[in-house]
C-alpha cells in the first residue's frame, strides 16, 4: 500500500538561496536519510513521487510551503514527523504534517493564490510608497512583458496594502495558478523598489475555494 503525506513547512535563513529544483532534491535526500521508503515512478528513469506546491523564487523566505510525498509504508504522523525532523537540514521548519488522499489531483493544480509580506531593508518613505501603491492599484491594466510575452499584471494582484506594523510591511495576495502567476518582484518593479533592498516572505498558500 502507498500513502501520501503532505508537509507544511517554512523556508528560513540561508535555505532561501536554494532554488525550487534544489529544494526538490533536498526533500528527496531528507526522505532517504529519514528512511521513509520512497515510491518511484515506473519507466526507464524512475523518479521518487515528490511534488512541490508552487515554486518559490530564489531568495524568498516562506512561512508556508507545501510538499507531497508518496511512501510505501503507513507511519503515524508523530513518527513520520519525528523521522523527518531528525533528517532535515537547517533552514527548513516543519509546521504541520497531514495524510491526504493518494488520488487527489497534483498539489500544484490545487493552489490558487499566495500571500506575501515584503519588508524593506533600508529606510524608505512610507507615504511615498503608499501613494505609488494607490496609483498602481488604480490602473485598469498593467501590461508587462515576461520572456517575450505580454501579460496584464493588474488582475493577478488580488490584494495589496501597507501594514503599519513595527516594522511596516507591504502585504500582497497574488494569483498563483500554474496558468497565471503574479510575482511580488513585478509588483515591486511597478513601485520602483529595488528587489535586493527587500526581504520577501511568503506568508500563506491558498487552496482553490479556500479563501474567503
Amino acid at each position: 500500500m502507498n500513502y501520501r503525506y503532505r508537509i507544511n513547512y517554512s523556508k528560513k535563513n540561508d535555505m532561501r538561496y536554494t532554488s525550487n529544483l534544489d529544494i526538490h532534491k533536498m526533500w528527496e535526500r531528507t526522505f532517504r536519510r529519514a528512511k521513509l521508503p520512497l515510491v518511484y515512478s515506473q519507466g526507464f528513469h524512475p523518479q521518487p513521487k515528490i511534488q512541490l506546491a508552487c515554486p518559490l523564487p530564489l531568495g524568498f523566505l516562506s512561512r508556508h510551503e507545501l510538499v507531497d510525498v508518496v511512501i510505501g509504508q503507513d507511519f503515524s504522523l508523530e513518527l513520520f514527523t519525528e523521522r523527518i525532523e531528525k533528517a532535515l537540514p537547517s533552514g527548513i521548519g516543519i509546521n504541520q504534517v497531514t495524510v491526504v488522499n493518494l488520488h487527489d489531483p497534483a498539489l500544484q493544480t490545487q493552489i490558487e493564490s499566495s500571500e506575501y509580506h515584503i519588508y524593506f531593508l533600508e529606510n524608505f518613505d512610507q507615504d511615498q510608497l503608499t501613494k505609488e501603491l494607490t496609483e498602481v492599484l488604480a490602473k485598469p491594466n498593467i501590461i508587462r512583458n515576461r520572456r517575450g510575452k505580454n501579460y496584464d499584471l493588474r488582475p493577478l494582484i488580488l490584494e495589496a496594502e501597507m501594514i503599519d506594523d513595527q516594522p511596516p510591511y507591504l502585504r500582497l495576495i497574488l494569483e498563483s495558478k500554474p496558468s497565471a502567476t503574479g510575482r511580488p518582484e513585478e509588483v515591486l518593479d511597478e513601485l520602483k523598489v529595488p528587489l535586493e533592498l527587500t526581504r520577501i516572505i511568503r506568508n500563506s498558500l491558498f487552496f482553490s475555494g479556500s479563501k474567503k
Binding site: 538561496y17 535526500r29 536519510r33 537540514p89 533552514g91 531593508l121
Partner: protein, 647 residues
C-alpha cells in the same frame, strides 16, 4: 530592522553586520547558495569554547570544491577534536568577488561567516597547479598578505598540501609550511605543535622552527635555492642548520577510516555523490603518471569495510550516487567480491554506482553489468596510446585485439557510447603514432557498428602530456604548441564523421600546466605578477589568461621555454629534489632509460623493481604486516638469496 526580526530564524546570529550586507548582495549574484553554508552535515561549533580554529580552503568555486574528498577527511577529523574546529571556504566566482571588494567584505568561512583572517590555521589544498593564482587571490580577498614574510602574528598560519605540492617551489614564498604526502596524521601533529607554541606567546619564527621538525613538513623560509649563471638550479642552501635536508612524504601504513558524514550541498554541484576510496597507490608503473609514482605503495581497504562505509554514508547523506575511487579499480584484489556485495546490498535502491579506471578486458564489462542500476552512464577505457611503440615507451602495454573484442562486448551489452582516453605528446611521438590513435578509434567504432549498428558512438578524450616532477619522464621536454596543434589537427581531420566526438586540451593551457608544475622558486614571481595583472581561474575552459602570463614572464625576465621545452641533462639536479616521495631518482632514471629502449616493466606486485618505497617506509610496513601492502615481501626474498648463496 534586524533587531525586530520579523521572521524567526534557528541559526546562531554570529555576525549580523555581515549577514545584513550579504542579504543585499546575494540577490545580485549567480547561485547565491554557494556563499551561505548551512548544508546538512556541516558542523557549527561555539567559537568561545574552542582554542584552535582551522579554515579548510579549496581555491576554486564551491561547485567544484565542496565534494573534494581530501578536505572532507580533514573536516571530519579536526571537528572530532574537542578543542578544535574546522570550517570551509571556497573561491567566490567573479560576480561575488566584485561585490566583496566593493563592500570591503573580507572572505569568510561558510559555517559561522567568520573572516578567514581570524582563524589560527588556514589550510589551502593544491591538487593541481592551475589553482595557484586562485590561491593568491583568495588570500588577498581574505585581506591576508599573500607572502609568508609579510604575515606577522596577527595572521593565520598558512599551510598547503595536495598532489601539486610535491613540487612546492613555485608557491614557496606564499605558503608558511607544506605538508607533503598523506595528511591524516601530519595535519593533527601540526595542530598540536601549534597549540603548544600558542600557549607560550612566542614569535612566529619559533612556530615555523617547531613545525619544521615534524616529519613531512617543509618550511620553505628555511631554504634558499641557488642557481648557476644560466639559470639552472644548483642546490638548496639551508638557512636553518637544524632543518631537514630532505623532506620525505608521509603515508599511512594502513588506510585510515573513511569519512561518512559528507557535506550534502543545498544546491546542485559538479559531483553529488559519496566518494569511497577503495585503495591508494598503483602498481602499473605508467611512466607519464604522476599519481602512480607519488602515491606508492599500494594499500587496499577491506571489502567489508568499504561496504560498511557505503551503508553508513548513504544513511548519513541520502545521496543517490556512489563513486568507488582508485587509480586502477581492476587491480583491487577482491574486486569481484566487492562488486557482488555492493550489487546485493544496494541494487534495489535506485542508486548510481560508478567504478572508474577499469582495465581493458571483458571482465570489466562483467563488473560494470553488476553495478548497472536504474541509470546508466557511459563506459570509459584509457588505452592512452595507440601504437605498440608508444605503449612500450610509456609502459602501458595493451593488446589491440583485446581492446577491440572488449569494445564489441561493451556495445553488445547495451552501452551505446564508449569513451576512450588518449594522451598525445609522449616522448619521441611521431605524427604516425598520432594517426594511429585515429585509426584505432575507427576500428573501435567499426566494432560498435557490428554490435549495435549506427547507434554506436566513440568519444575520444585526447589530453596532452606534461612531464611531471618525480616521474620517469621528468627529464623530457614538452611538445611545442605548434606541434601539439599539428597533432590535434590530424585527429580532428580523421575523426570528423558520424559517431565520433573528440575533446582536446588547448595547447596554451598545457604550456601553463607545464611551466607551473616544472617551475623553480623564481616561478613564484611570475605567478604573483600574473595574478596582479588579473590571472585567476586558470583551470577554466577557454584559458583567456595566456597573454597575461606571457607578460608576467617578460616582466620578470624569465623564459617559459626554459621551463617547458628544455630537455634536462641526466645529471641535472631538479629544484624539487629535496621533496622525497619515497621513490628514488635512480629508479626513475632507470625507467627513463628503459622507455627509450621500449623495455616493458610489469605489475610490480609480481616482481619488485626496487623503486625504493618499501625501503623508505619499511618501519610502517612492519607495524601492519599482512596483506594490506601489495609490494612483494623483500625481506623473505633476500633471505632466500642469502641462503642460496651460502649453499
Amino acid at each position: 530592522m534586524n533587531n525586530t526580526d520579523p521572521f524567526p530564524g534557528d541559526n546562531l546570529e554570529i555576525n549580523t553586520s555581515l549577514e545584513e550586507k550579504l542579504e543585499k548582495i546575494l540577490p545580485l549574484v549567480e547561485k547565491p547558495g554557494r556563499y551561505v553554508g548551512g548544508e546538512y552535515n556541516s558542523i557549527i561549533k561555539d567559537w568561545n569554547n574552542i582554542s584552535t580554529k582551522v579554515a579548510l580552503v579549496f581555491p576554486d568555486i564551491y561547485d567544484i570544491g565542496v565534494s573534494n574528498l581530501g578536505l572532507q577527511i580533514f573536516y571530519e577529523r579536526i571537528n572530532q577534536l574537542n578543542d578544535c574546529l574546522a570550517e570551509r571556504s571556497y573561491s567566490p566566482w567573479i560576480d561575488m568577488e566584485s561585490q566583496l571588494r566593493k563592500y570591503k567584505i573580507p572572505l569568510y568561512s561558510l559555517e559561522t561567516k567568520t573572516p578567514l583572517k581570524k582563524f589560527d590555521i588556514l589550510g589551502i589544498t593544491l591538487p593541481y597547479e592551475s589553482l595557484y593564482t586562485n590561491a593568491l587571490n583568495l588570500l588577498n580577498l581574505a585581506q591576508i598578505p599573500i607572502r609568508s614574510i609579510d604575515r606577522g602574528l596577527g595572521f593565520p598560519l598558512v599551510i598547503s598540501g595536495g598532489h601539486a605540492t610535491y613540487n612546492p617551489e613555485p608557491m614557496a614564498p606564499f605558503i608558511d609550511a607544506f605538508l607533503i604526502g598523506e595528511g591524516e596524521e601530519i595535519f593533527l601533529e601540526l595542530i598540536s605543535t601549534y597549540q603548544i607554541w600558542k600557549s607560550k606567546n612566542q614569535p612566529k619564527i619559533d612556530l615555523l622552527n617547531k613545525i619544521s621538525h615534524i616529519d613531512g613538513v617543509y618550511v620553505p623560509a628555511f631554504y634558499e635555492p641557488q642557481y648557476y649563471e644560466n639559470g639552472i638550479f644548483s642546490n638548496l642552501l639551508l638557512k636553518n642548520k637544524k632543518s631537514p635536508k630532505i623532506i620525505t612524504k608521509r603515508i599511512m601504513g594502513k588506510l585510515p577510516y573513511s569519512p561518512t558524514h559528507f557535506i550534502v550541498p543545498s544546491i546542485s554541484v559538479v559531483h553529488n555523490r559519496i566518494p569511497v576510496e577503495i585503495m591508494r597507490g598503483c602498481t602499473r608503473g605508467c611512466r607519464f603518471c604522476h599519481a602512480g609514482m607519488i602515491n606508492r605503495p599500494i594499500r587496499e581497504r577491506d571489502v567489508n569495510e568499504i561496504v560498511d562505509t557505503i551503508e553508513k554514508a548513504l544513511d548519513n547523506t541520502g545521496f543517490e550516487e556512489i563513486a568507488l575511487l582508485s587509480l586502477s579499480s581492476s587491480d583491487y584484489t577482491n574486486i569481484l567480491e566487492l562488486v557482488n556485495q555492493i550489487s546485493d546490498r544496494f541494487s534495489k535502491r535506485n542508486l548510481t554506482i560508478s567504478l572508474p579506471s577499469l582495465r581493458i578486458e571483458t571482465f570489466s564489462i562483467e563488473l560494470m553489468e553488476k553495478l548497472k542500476g536504474s541509470r546508466q552512464g557511459g563506459f570509459t577505457l584509457a588505452p592512452e596510446a595507440a601504437s605498440d611503440r608508444m605503449r612500450g615507451i610509456i609502459n602501458k602495454p595493451i593488446s589491440e585485439e583485446l581492446l577491440l573484442s572488449t569494445a564489441y562486448e561493451i556495445f553488445k551489452c547495451g552501452w551505446t557510447t564508449l569513451k576512450l582516453y588518449f594522451m598525445i605528446g609522449h616522448p619521441s611521438e611521431t605524427l604516425e603514432d598520432v594517426a594511429e590513435i585515429a585509426s584505432l578509434c575507427k576500428k573501435v567504432l567499426a566494432e560498435g557498428h557490428k554490435a549495435i549498428g549506427k547507434r554506436a558512438k566513440v568519444h575520444a578524450g585526447v589530453s596532452t602530456f606534461v612531464p611531471k616532477p618525480h616521474t620517469p619522464f621528468q627529464w623530457v621536454s614538452c611538445d611545442q604548441p605548434d606541434l601539439i596543434r599539428q597533432k590535434q589537427n590530424i585527429l580532428r581531420e580523421a575523426l570528423k564523421g558520424r559517431g565520433f566526438k573528440l575533446n582536446w586540451t588547448d595547447p596554451k593551457e598545457t604550456m601553463m600546466e607545464a611551466w607551473l608544475s616544472r617551475g623553480d622558486r623564481k616561478m613564484a614571481e611570475v605567478i604573483e605578477t600574473a595574478w596582479k595583472n588579473g590571472a585567476k581561474f586558470d583551470a577554466w575552459q577557454d584559458f583567456k589568461n595566456y597573454d597575461i602570463w606571457m607578460q608576467a614572464f617578460t616582466e620578470n625576465d624569465l623564459d617559459p621555454y626554459f621551463y617547458v621545452h628544455r630537455e634536462r641533462d641526466l645529471k641535472e639536479i631538479f629544484p624539487w629534489e629535496h621533496i622525497f616521495p619515497g621513490v628514488r631518482k635512480t629508479y626513475l632514471k632507470t625507467e627513463y632509460l628503459n622507455s627509450m629502449s621500449m623495455k616493458l616493466r610489469g605489475d610490480c606486485r609480481q616482481q619488485c623493481y626496487a623503486c625504493g618505497i618499501t625501503q623508505t617506509f619499511n618501519h610502517l610496513r612492519e607495524e601492519d604486516p599482512g596483506i594490506i601492502w601489495k609490494c612483494p615481501n623483500l625481506v623473505t626474498k633476500r633471505r632466500a638469496n642469502e641462503l642460496s648463496l651460502s649453499n
